[in-house]
């Protein structure tokens, strides 16, 4: 119940911000303007979010269920998101190979892998195999290490 209320509030806030932005955007085009369709959708989202919020608050019988695995699980999810954000941010600086290898190791630990040998082997093999496949066979360049020139 609590989660639904938060989701509804988030959607309502995003819809309001979008409506405000669209309101200030110059409307051009014939009959149906540039902003008409997205404005209609944002308004519809706002209405649906408010309906969900109302239904959630009215339905007091339902109670929030704890996530499987407890708070440790939530920490792991947040850790994985943080690791991934750091990985993406590090790509242009450390390059594909180094950042992917480090990320792979960190993500493996987050997934509960404690076998050091399998982690080290996979840290080398997975990024290297992907890099060879994309760069040598698909002729697509992956991020190079800006930090090392």
């Amino acid at each position: 119940m609590v989660r639904d209320a938060w989701v509804a509030l988030a959607v309502a806030a995003a819809s309001t911000v979008s409506l405000w932005d669209l309101w200030r955007t110059p409307a051009t085009g014939a009959f149906v303007k540039t902003t008409t369709f997205p404005m209609a959708l944002a308004a519809l989202m706002l209405v649906l979010a408010l309906v969900l919020l109302g239904a959630t608050l009215r339905d007091r019988a339902r109670r929030a269920r704890p996530a499987p695995g407890g708070s440790g699980a939530t920490v792991r999810v947040m850790l994985l998101v943080a690791f991934t954000a750091l990985y993406i941010g590090a790509l242009p600086w450390l390059g594909y190979l180094v950042s992917s290898a480090v990320y792979f190791g960190a993500a493996s630990l987050a997934f509960g892998n404690r076998d050091a040998l399998s982690i080290v082997i996979a840290m080398i093999v997975v990024p290297l195999a992907l890099m060879l496949f994309f760069e040598k066979y698909m002729i697509v360049l992956l991020p190079s290490a800006g930090l090392f020139g």
Binding site: V81, I88, N113, L130, I139
Partner: protein, 505 residues
Amino acid sequence: MIDLVLGAFAEVLSAQTLGLIAIGLVVGIVIGAIPGLNVPLAVAIALPITFKLSPIGGLAMLVGIYKGGTYGGSISAVLINVPGTPAAAATALDGAPLTRQGKAGKALRMSLYASIIAEILSDIALILFAVPIAFVALKVGPPETFSIGLFALALIGVLSEGNMLKGLMAGVLGLFLSTFGVDPLTGDFRLTFGVYELSGGWSFIALVIGVFAVAEALIQVERRGVKPISTGKVRLSEPQHRLDREDWRRALPAIARSAPIGVLIGAIPGLGAAVSAYLNYGLTRNLSKHPERFGQGAIEGVAAAEAGNNAVTASTFVPLLTLGVPGDVITAIMLGAFIVHGLVPGPALFEKESAFVAAFFVMMIVTTLLHLVIGRIGLPLFVQTTRVSNKLLFPAIMVLSVTGVFVATNSFFDIFAMLGFGVLGYVMVKSGFPVAPLLIGFILGPLIEVGLRQSMIMSRGGLDIFFTRPISAVFLALAALTVLTVAWRERRAARRSRASDGDSG
């Protein structure tokens, strides 16, 4: 006539052409299975190679990549819930649950066989009915596109049964996300919030990989310690991996319905495999007596999505061959291969190059048959993925997802967007929001908006244009019928629920 057909068979069944088809199929299946790498990219890379080959040999390889790639997306969708192509996202909805139930072989088999049956029907339709199909496709203008889009959108309701409000919210959010960036008609910017990278809108590949692959990884990291689905070597001969009579009884009607619909969708420029897959999936669920099975591992869901997906592979050539108009990106690239070899698609092609046209038709069917052989050989290999430990598999999926989005978009912003969509997908799953309506809304958004606005310009602001054109009117009626059916089912389910609450109270 007989000489023409015999000559065509002799050319296509040569070792060189068969080898090129096989190479194309293998490359296509591998490319299709890797998120981020798409069929147009593979066809574009292979195009220069075909310039040195015979016209049929070169086109055979490209068609092999196309057919293999369209099917390949379903392999990763079924095995690891990561659709290799956007169209395969519909396959993941029931394919991935089947894998979690230890029935990966069943899902992969159905995915392959439904694809092949639909491809054969599509090939036959191309050969026998190319001209009438092109005639129908030509009748589809902006009002019809809008009505078809609206009908497909109405199917969102079907996919949201049991939780209509959340399904509607997800669908509207998908539609809304598709409106970011440049207005397709006026070229004006909207909803960019001053962010340059948003001027092109949200990347569809980032959305698909985010809500499926990243969200799945976040769910799995929560359940740390979950063992791999299979521990020993997986054998396709085991009963849970085989298709039984009951599976075929459920799947055959879905394939029989989805394939012709997919053929028509493929012939209409601008619609494509993803629309066909979702439309057929939704339709099959709507017509099912047990819609509650969908999303839980319904074999007919896999069959409908895959048949719809692959039925477009031959019919996309209808406008190209008959009118010289490429209907999508892939046929537009292939047009280059035609022209380099001095072949100009259009009505004259059938008169002046009848030997080539005959060989092309034979090549399409031979490619489908070889697709069956290569796909079947690959199944025992693909299914071994279920043995890989989640502790190694999901970190690899995350690296592959980041790599795939970078390869597809060459943008770090889009990779961050993928992570954001992953969190969104995770929150949606945890809060009971269906993910499919979000993707359908995103696919259909541009179709519906452009169709609506162009129609309004055509009719100078009058809404009657949607009701006076027969095809448009039919699809609007079908959309209304779908909404009414869903509303009736919801009401019936609510009554039953109230009655059972009363009994237990």
